[in-house]
Amino acid sequence: MDHLLTWVIFLPLIGAGIAFLVKDHQTVKVLALVTTIADFLISLPLWMKFDHGTANFQFVEKYSWIPTFNINYHIGVDGISLLLIIMTTFLAPFCVLCSWNAIADRNREFMINIMVMQTAMVGVFAALDMALFYIFWEAMLIPMYLIVGVWGGVNRIYAALKFFIYTLAGSLLLLVAMIYMFFKAGHTFDIPALMNTPFAPEAQFWLFLAMFVAFAIKVPMFPFHTWLPHAHVQAPTAGSVILASVMLKMGAYGFLRFCLPMLTEASLSLTPFILTLSVVAIIYGAYMALAQTDIKKLIAYSSVSHMGFVTIGMFVYNQLGIEGAIMQMVNHGVTTGALFLCVGIIYDRRHTRDLSEYGGLAKTMPMFATCFVIFSMASIGLPGTNGFIGEFMVLLGAFTYDRLTGVLAATGIVLGAVYMLYLVARMIWSECSNPENQKLTDLSLREFTILAPLVVLTFVIGLYPAPFLEVMHVSVEHLINQTAGLAGAPQIALLK
C-alpha cells in the first residue's frame, strides 16, 4: 500500500463517517471493532517494514495543504513515534470491546467518538508538520471532552470542563511558540526543518517554557496533574484507557519531538528543573495513590508517578534513559490501560469504585484476580514483566547521569509496591465478606479476550524486549548526538 501511514491515520475516520450513516447500534459496534482491528493490522506493516538502520523519517508523505502559510500535509514515522503509533492502534479495539455493553446510552455516538479520536491520536504521533500536529493535538480534545462529558460519571461536567480548559490553556502557549518558530525559521512549520534551525538561546528559553506548559499539563507533570484524577474518575472505562494509555504519552512525545531536538540548549539548561519536578512527581504521585480509596483515582495517581519516570528518562540524555522512557511510555500504556480495563470490568458488575466495597475477589473471580495481579506486578515493575524494562532502563540511565536523581527516583519502586499491593490486598485478597461480591461472576469470553492479549504482551515485552528496542536505537542515537554536540550538561552535583 502506497499511502500506508495515511490509511492508518484516516481509516478510523472513514469508519466514523460510515457509522454516521448507519443508524443501528449493533452494526456500529461491529463496525467500530472491525475498523479498529483493521487499523491495527494495517499499522503492523509499519513496524515490519521499518528500517532499523536509519534515523530518517520513514513512510513519509508530503503534500501542500495551505500554501499561504506553507502548511503541508507532512507525515512520517521514526523510531520514536513508531511504537507509540502501534500502541495506539493496538489498544483501540480493547476500548471498543470494553464499551460493548458498558455504554448503554448512545452507543453509536460513543463509537464514533472513539474512532474520530483514534485518527487524531495517530495523527499527533505521525505529523511532521507542526501546524498539522497542532490540529490533531487539538482535535483530539473534542471527542475526549464529549466522552467524559456525555458518558462520564456523576461529576462529569466539572471533570470534562476542567480537562478541556486546562489542556487547551496549555496548548495555546504551544500555538504561540509554534508561530514564533514559524517566523524565525523562515516561514515553515516543517518539523525536520525546524529541527535544523538554530534558535537563539534567549528565545529558546521562552519557547521551552511555553512548550513545557503545554506538554507538562498533558503528561501530566507535578504540579499540573490535578485534572487527571478528576477526568479518570469520571470518564467511562474506554475514556480512562485512552486517556492513560495514549493521551498522557503525547505530552512526553512532545518533549521528545520538539523540546529536545529543537530547543536543545534550553532543554539542557532547564534539565535540573525538569528532573526535580519529575522526582517530585514520582514520590508525590505515589504518596497520593497511597491515600486513595477510589480505585480509579489510585491508578490515576499512579500514572502521575509512572510518568515521572518517563520525563526523567528523556532528560538524562543517554540511550538507556531515552529508550527507557519510550519503553516506559509503551509499558505504562499497556499496563495502566489494562488496569483500567480491569476496573471497568468490576465496575460493570458492582457500579462502585470504592475500595472498601471490594475484597476477596480471588475467590469469586479467580481469572480476573490473576490478570489483575499480573498487571499490578507489571505496574510495580517486577522483572519479567514489561514494567521492569522501562523502569530499570530509566533508573539506570538516570543513575549514570546524576546519582541523586537516580536514587530518589528509585525510591518509587518501593512506594509503587506499597500502593499497588495495598490495592491488591484490599481488592483481590482478604475476606470476601460483602454479599454483593459473593455472587460476582468471573470474566466473560469478551472480557477474557480483552485481557488475555495484554497479559501476553506484558510478558513478551518483559522477557524479550529486543524487537521493541531495536526500532528506536538509531533514532535515539541520532537524538543524543544532537544534544551531545552542545556544551556539557549542567548537573546537580550532590552525589557525583
Partner: protein, 697 residues
Amino acid sequence: MLYVLIPLLPLFSFIMVGLFQKWMRNQAHLICVPMVFASFGLSVYAFMQVAGGNPVNFDLYEWIPVGDFRPTFGIMIDQLTASMLLLVTLVSSLVHLYTVGYMHGDGGYDRFFAYISLFTFSMLALVMSNNFLQLFFGWEMVGLCSYLLIVHWYERKASTNASFKAFIQNRVGDLGFALGIFLVWDTVGSLDYGTVFAAIGDHRNDTMNLLGTQVNVVTMIALLLFVGAVGKSAQFLLHSWLPDAMEGPTPISALIHAATMVTAGIFMVSRCHPIFNLSETAMMVVALTGAFTALFGATIALTQNDIKKVVAYSTMSQLGYMVMACGIGAYVAGMFHLLTHGVFKALLFLAAGSVIHALSAEQDIRKMGQAKKYMPTTYWTMLWGSLALAGIFPFAGFFSKDEILWEAWNAGVMGKGLWLIGVIVAFMTAFYTFRVFFMVFYGKDNMTDEMRSHAHESPRVITIPLVVLAVGALFVGWLGNPMFGPNLSHNFLGPVFNTPVSHVPVTEHAQLQMPNLVGEAFAEEGHDPHAAPAPHGEDPQAADPHAMAPAAHGAAAAGGAEHGGGHNKTMEFLLMAFSLAVAGSGIFMAYAWYYRPNEAPAKLAASYNGLYQGSLNKWYWDELYDAVFVRPTVKFAHGLWRVADEIVIDKVLVDGVAITTRIGGEILKFFQTGRVQHYAMVMSLGIFVILGGFFLF
C-alpha cells in the same frame, strides 16, 4: 544446553498448571512432581559435571540490548551454583512430594503447585545466573512467589498482612540491591559476573561523593548489595517479615522461608565475594549484622509459643550465622552451613508441619504434649532435625556450625567477639529447639479431646520426605568433616573463593547447541589457566595465598584455606568439644524444664518480666515500625493529599485561575445591560473617539 532444562522444567509445569488450572481437578502434582524430580536429576548430573571439572557458562540471549548495556539471560554452573542447585532441587522435590499429602483437600491445591513450581524456576534462575541483572530477576521473582504463597489462604487477614509486609520489606532490600547494581554498572560498565569481578579490583581506590563526604565506591557497592541480602535473608532491620511469613502453608515455610529463598542473600554475598573482599568496612558491617541477627533471632525464639514461629526465628538466627561467616571471609563455611541448614531446617519445618497437620492445624505448643505416641516417624525425624540444628555430633549442624565458629575464632580480635556471640547463640539454639521438641512430644498433654481423637501419623507422602531429609541431616555434615579424610566442602567450594576473578570462561553459543558438545567444549577449555581447577585434593591454587583475593580479610581467608590442609587441629578439636558441651547444656536445660511439667520457666519469666515480655513481643520491633514508618506514612499521604493536592494545588492554584477569571467576568458583566441602544451608544462613542484621535494626531 541441557542445563537450560533445569529451570525450565519447573517453569513448564507452572505454565501448564497455571493455564489449565480449571481442568486440573487437584491433579497438578501429576505434572509438577515429575518435572521437579527431573530437574533434580539434571542437577545431580550438572553437579557431577562440575565436580568432574566441567563448569558451565553460557548466554542464552540478550535480554535488554541497549547500546553498551547488554545484559543477558545466561547460565553459569560452577561449584557454588552446583551445590545450590542440588539443595534447591532436592528440597523442592521433597517439598513437592510432601505437599501432595499436606495440601490434600485444600481449595487452592493446583494453584499452590503452580506457585511452588514457579518458585523453583525463579530460585534456579537466581542461582544459575551469570550476571547481575538475571540475579535481580530471580531475586525479585522469588520474592513474588514468596508473596503469592504467603497469601495462599488469602481470606485470612493475617495472611494478607504478612504477604504485604514480606513484599514491601523485600522491596526495600531490593531497592538497595538495585542501586548496588546501578553502581556496579556505573563503575565497571558491565553486569556480567566475570567482567565485573575481573575489573572491580581496578576500582578499589575509587571514591564517590556521598552527601559531601568521599566514600569508597567498592565499599558502597558492597553495602548496597548487602542491603538486598538483608532484605532477602531477613537480617536485622528488615527481618520482621520472615516470622510473619509463617502465615503461609508449611511446605513453603520449609522451601522458601527456610531452605532456599532466604539463603539467597548468603548466596549472593558469596557470589560477589570479589567485591566484598575488597572492602574491609563492608565486611565488618556484614559480619556484625549477621552476628547481631543471630543473637537477636535466638533471643526471640526462646519464648515463642507458635511452633512455626520458633523455627522461623531460629532460621533468622541461623541466617545470621551464615552472614556472619561471609562477613569474616569464611564463605565456604557460610555456604556449607547454608547447605546443611537447608536440609535440616526444611526437615524441621516439614516435621513441624506434620505435627500441625496431625493435630488439627494447632500451632501453639502450649496446647500440645505427649504427641510422641501418635506419630513415631515424625518424632524421630524431628529429633534428628533438632539435634542437627542444636549442633550435636554427628549431625549436620555440628560440622557446619563449628566450622563457622572456628573461622570466627581465627579472624582476629573481632572474630573472637563474634565467636563468643556464636557460642551464646548456639546455646540458645539448643535450648529453644529442644524446648519445642519436649513440649510437643513430652511434657504435659495439653491437647483437647478433639485433637487427641484425630491425632494420627501423617501419610507416606509426608513421612517419606521427612525420612529422606533426616538421613540427609545425619550425613550431609560429613562432607565438611574436618577430622577424618579430606574436607570435601572445602575442596569443592574452596576454589571458587580463592580465585579473585570469576574463573568460568564464557563459551561460545555455537558450542553449546548440542548437549553432547558441552563436555568437549570444556575439555578444550581445560587448558585455560583460568579454568576452574578440579576439586581434587590439594589444589595448588587453593593452597597458594597469593592466588587469593588481596583482601582485608585475607588472613581469615588464609585461615580457611589452611584449614583444609590440616593445621591447628588441636585447637579446633578443643573448640568443638566446647561448643558441643554448650549445645549439650542447652539441651539439658530444655530437658530439665520441659521434659516434665515444671514451674521453673514461669518463675524465671516472672522474675525477669521485662526481658520476657520483650522477647515474647519480638522486642517490639513490629510496633516500632508501625509507629515510625507505617502509620506516619499513611497519615502523611492522607494529609498531603487533602492539603497539598486537593486544596493548595487543585483548589487554590488551578481552580484559583478559573475563579480569578470568573471574578473578572463578574465585574465586567455589569457593562452588559442587554439594551441594544447602550451598545450602539458605546459603539458610536468609540467611533467618535477613534475619529477624534485620527484627526487630532
